[in-house]
Amino acid sequence: MKDGAVLEMRGICKYFPGVRALEKVDFTLREGEIHALMGENGAGKSTLIKVLTGVYPKDGGTVVLSDKQINIKSPQDAQNNGIATVYQEITLCPNLTVAENMYIGRTKGPLTDWGKMNRSAGKLLDDLGIPVSPKEQLGNCSIAVQQMVAIARAVDMDCKVLILDEPTSSLDEQEVQKLFKLMRDLKAKGVGIIFVTHFLEQVYEVCDRITVLRDGTLVGEYVIQDLPRVKLVSKMLGKDFDDMAEIKSSDEEEKIDYNGTPVYQANNLTGTTGIKPFDFEIHKGEVNGFTGLLGSGRSESVRAIFGADRVTGGTIKMDGKTVKIRKPLDAMKNGISYLPEDRKLDGIVGDLSVRDNIILALQVMKGFFKPFSKAQAEKFADDYIKLLNIKTASQDTPIKSLSGGNQQKVILARWLLADPVYLILDEPTRGIDVGTKVEIQKLVLKLAAEGKSITFISSEIDEMIRTCSRLVVMRDGKVVGELKGADLNQNKIMATIAGGESK
């Protein structure tokens, strides 16, 4: 056993029918460290986590926790052994209070002293600096607070190993900082933290060590100082990586005719989701972005454009002609495509095959009484699986069994097949691996070059700067600024988001 190691996994193997998800993977976690687990989608991160937490039984290897070899049979078993997990999706009960959520399933005997429970929960939350009352209903708290409550619950169970699986993907910058502070506090208390994330910046901000997986095998374990970003990325991808920095050629913008008739133009577009009426236009071949903090209304705005939520007012012109867009089908028929923010909830149709998922939008546009022939559907699917390099066993594979990045590509394929003039991509790169991220960004620019108009939203400002030629900045449901050209830099964007423009 290595010095100070709290958890050692040796030679872990896990097989699924036809797939080697993990092949002899080693992983060591030391006391009081934050250890990033990195890898592209499908590299085996989540499988490793699931083996560790008893969701999957392992098919080989040993797990040693605090010098004791253990065999984890179930998530409950993992919890009892001091391995706590906080998942990307909150797994607590939104209709219970914070305190109830922290103690649910842990009270002994049939009687519960609610007062005592609330008091001890309050104390713990104070200690950890989590700004919430124990009596608050969890569903009313922000996602960040919910995450932190989940962590507090884990901490209170005296965990030795805390696993954070993509905890930051739905948090804004401030919330991420709060979470990091909490993580550092826990680290000081000697808790070993496994941090799974796709955000490179965050890894370099809080982590001490990185373990990289690729294709179910171990690439290596590194101290953070020894592994610069570029190297990390190349380790993850398994190849030298050079095209991350500059994928946008600067002369693209000049081609856009800003004086011509906009492809899409909205005046006073009003919805029911809490955004103020706004004007918006986009030109042929342009890539624009909506930015702002979470909840600023950027997603709601593009949803209003697509008619995803109820639209109550405003005039819309496409190519100068007034059109009516009140529901998604209107938008689709007018050549607008929308890749939604929440892939799982709004994007994929999980049990349907990759093929059905690809043809869905075009099929709906074609009409209820005109189904595509099987041969036609197969051809469409085949073309786009090749075009976007989608990794799937076959067209008939249910989309839910694909990795996140490949699922996103299928949804992208669906909307490209619909051949839109205006394509809205809301967070197309969230929760997917670096390689696919770059592929998608490149694709966006290629499509723009072919003359499509694209709205691209990402919570990673870097990505937006790389791909967009114009940024609409939103705050509190209102458009507060529009940036282009030289203004498109990190500082200016931050300042506009924060409300600096009035000064």
Partner: protein, 385 residues
């Protein structure tokens, strides 16, 4: 060397066979067909004459087929037709309609309401016109009741079982009210053709009606996107909406289709005996219809569906019922036997059992890979030496 090739050949054949069996087991039709074969086998052992089919002249003097098998495919007709609609409703709404028995009573009552006022001596042409009128009216009424259920489910977001509880409770009273609670008996023998035999045709009419329904639904599924839409809605309504589908409309549509199926069933039911008993007509058929869907391997939580499988499920249930009658099991005890089937189904499809099978498979796989790995190691070791 020869022994080596032998070894490598054998496993590949074994694997092929295993793959084939694996595919067969995974096929949705597997469960209902195995159940059907099991019943056939039991009957074959108990009494081979069970399968005897004879062609004899009937009371009308025409040749007709009779025998247990004919009885089964005849009596399963209503259930098979219902299974079509129930499968679609299950797929799109992720729930089941428990009011079908009661709405069959309504449908039958509507038919009788129209037919009963006719004198028995009207011409064939006029009778046909009356029958068509009665049937059309029955379809319209049933579709409206289906739409009522569907609207509660789609537009008021009420769980299907709860929404259809309303008609489940009220339907039979409505049926009785339609005919003023009269105990009706239709004397015109022409009316009985549709639940029994058309003179000169040796096969029971309900079999033809079922075949027509199956062909119609097959055509609908082929020439429309009903399958894609209702599956998409059942799996992910939110995503379907963003793809331009109107999930509410689709749910409503499936309930209306079920309503039409109910109308056809009601017609067959009242034609069988030319009468109706409001409180017991199509008694408990909703449970059989749901069981047929489940037996067909369709998830009762909605999404992907296979109508063929449900329909076979329906025939399995009728086969079971007829078998039990044949063994003189009390008809009131038959539901207990069906309960056993339900329990078996639930056990087979329980996630814990499936996971257990998967774990077993993975362990074998792991052992195999490990064996290959060690073999490779020793070989390379030898080379090094």
């Amino acid at each position: 060397m020869t022994s080596d090739t032998m070894k490598s050949n054998n496993p590949s054949f074994a694997i092929k066979l295993k793959n084939f069996l694996g595919k067969l087991v995974k096929n949705q039709l597997f469960i209902p067909i195995v159940a059907l074969l099991l019943l056939v086998l039991i009957n074959l052992i108990a009494d081979p004459t069970f399968f005897k089919i004879v062609l004899e002249p009937s009371s009308t003097g025409h040749l007709i087929l009779s025998g247990n098998l004919i009885t089964i495919i005849d009596n399963a007709s209503e259930l098979a037709i219902l299974a079509i609609g129930m499968t679609l409703v299950t797929s799109a709404s992720g729930g089941q309609d428990i009011s079908v028995g009661a709405t069959i009573a309504i449908a039958g009552s509507v038919i009788l309401r129209v037919i009963k006022v006719q004198p028995t001596d009207i011409s064939n042409g006029r009778f046909a016109a009356m029958l068509i009128l009665a049937f059309v009216l029955c379809v319209v009424v049933s579709a409206i009741f289906g739409a009522f259920n569907g609207a509660l489910v789609a537009y008021f977001n009420i769980q299907p079982m709860v929404a259809t509880l309303i008609l489940f409770t009220a339907g039979r009273s409505i049926a009785a009210w339609i005919n003023n609670n009269d105990n009706i008996s239709i004397k015109d023998t022409r009316f009985a053709y549709y639940g029994n035999f058309i003179p000169g045709i040796a096969i029971p009419t309900p079999v033809f009606i079922t075949a027509i329904c199956l062909i119609v639904i097959a055509l609908v599924l082929k020439f429309t996107n009903l399958r894609l839409y209702s599956q998409a809605v059942g799996i992910n309504a939110s995503s379907s909406r963003l793809n331009g589908i109107n999930p509410k409309m689709i749910k409503l549509l499936t309930f209306i289709i079920l309503g039409v199926c109910v109308a056809v069933c009601g017609f067959i039911k009242v034609s069988r005996t030319s009468s109706i008993t409001y409180s017991v007509i199509a008694n408990n058929i909703e449970m059989d219809a749901i069981l047929a869907v489940a037996l067909g391997g369709n998830a009762l939580s909605g999404g992907k569906f296979n109508i063929t499988s449900s329909v076979i499920g329906a025939y399995v249930i009728q086969f079971l019922t007829t078998t039990l009658y044949k063994f003189k099991v009390s008809s009131s005890a038959i539901s207990a036997y069906k309960a056993v089937v339900v329990i078996l189904l639930i056990i087979i499809s329980a996630p814990i059992v499936r996971r257990w099978f998967e774990d077993m498979k993975n362990k074998r796989e792991a052992a195999r890979v490990a064996k290959i790995a060690t073999a490779a190691n020793t070989e390379s070791g030898k080379e090094n030496v």
